[in-house]
Symmetry: C2
Subunit: 133 residues, 2 copies
């Protein structure tokens, strides 16, 4: 789809997106956003500012190059991440957050922090559940 015209945008603005609806575009977007890699990448860029590819890879331990590259490309296409190429030798590529990406990063990094902060409660709940079962 080519760049939206103002009229096309106005038409889209009229839609009430609702992710509870199976066929709604926002359900698909929610699925894309519901990814630990998205949460980790956006959290890293939020905490540390713009990062080179290698710095990002070091921060997010255990992410394969393929997964990182694919997720970054998706985030760039969705308007959440900027990709800046400097003509050094070899070229250096830096990733940063757009304002749209920064607004989402705030939310997904709070989910990451929640997982870290409530891990013991979850472990305790699992142990109790398994005990009852």
């Amino acid at each position: 789809m080519p760049t939206l015209t103002a009229a096309q945008r106005r038409e889209l603005e009229k839609i009430e997106f609702d992710a509870f609806m199976a066929e709604c575009k926002s359900r698909e977007l929610l699925e894309t956003l519901s990814s630990k890699w998205v949460a980790l990448i956006l959290s890293a860029l939020r905490e540390k500012g713009a990062l080179r590819y290698n710095e990002l890879a070091r921060t997010i331990a255990g992410a394969s190059q393929k997964m990182l590259t694919q997720t970054l490309r998706g985030l760039e296409r969705d308007g959440m991440v900027t990709r800046t190429v400097e003509p050094t030798v070899p070229v250096s590529v830096t990733y940063g957050l757009t304002p749209l990406g920064a607004s989402l990063a705030e939310l997904v990094s709070s989910v990451k922090t929640w997982a870290e902060s409530n891990m013991v409660d979850v472990i305790a709940a699992r142990a109790e559940y398994d005990d009852r079962a």
Copy 2:
């Protein structure tokens, strides 16, 4: 693992969980939480209060019974959702949020709302990206 003793819990409280680490338990928990079904179930229970299974299935259009049942069981085991069985004929099963689940529901429902509210910006960004490519 059987129900935690106070001493076991104190030991776990000393750990600094960090989802940027590949082997950290919180990375695995972040993966479990990063699911559109988790986001939709917790958002539904947050918006509507406790719900019977069928009401939940109606709210989250297009979720298969298998997916819904599996996700609910995981959320129950993780201490986020309560499952109450009433001895009617046929038995009626009601799901609700625990305080732990309510605290997560607040965060994931904000991601769902973000997807709905920013859909047009994302569509516009994709169109622009594809135009450049």
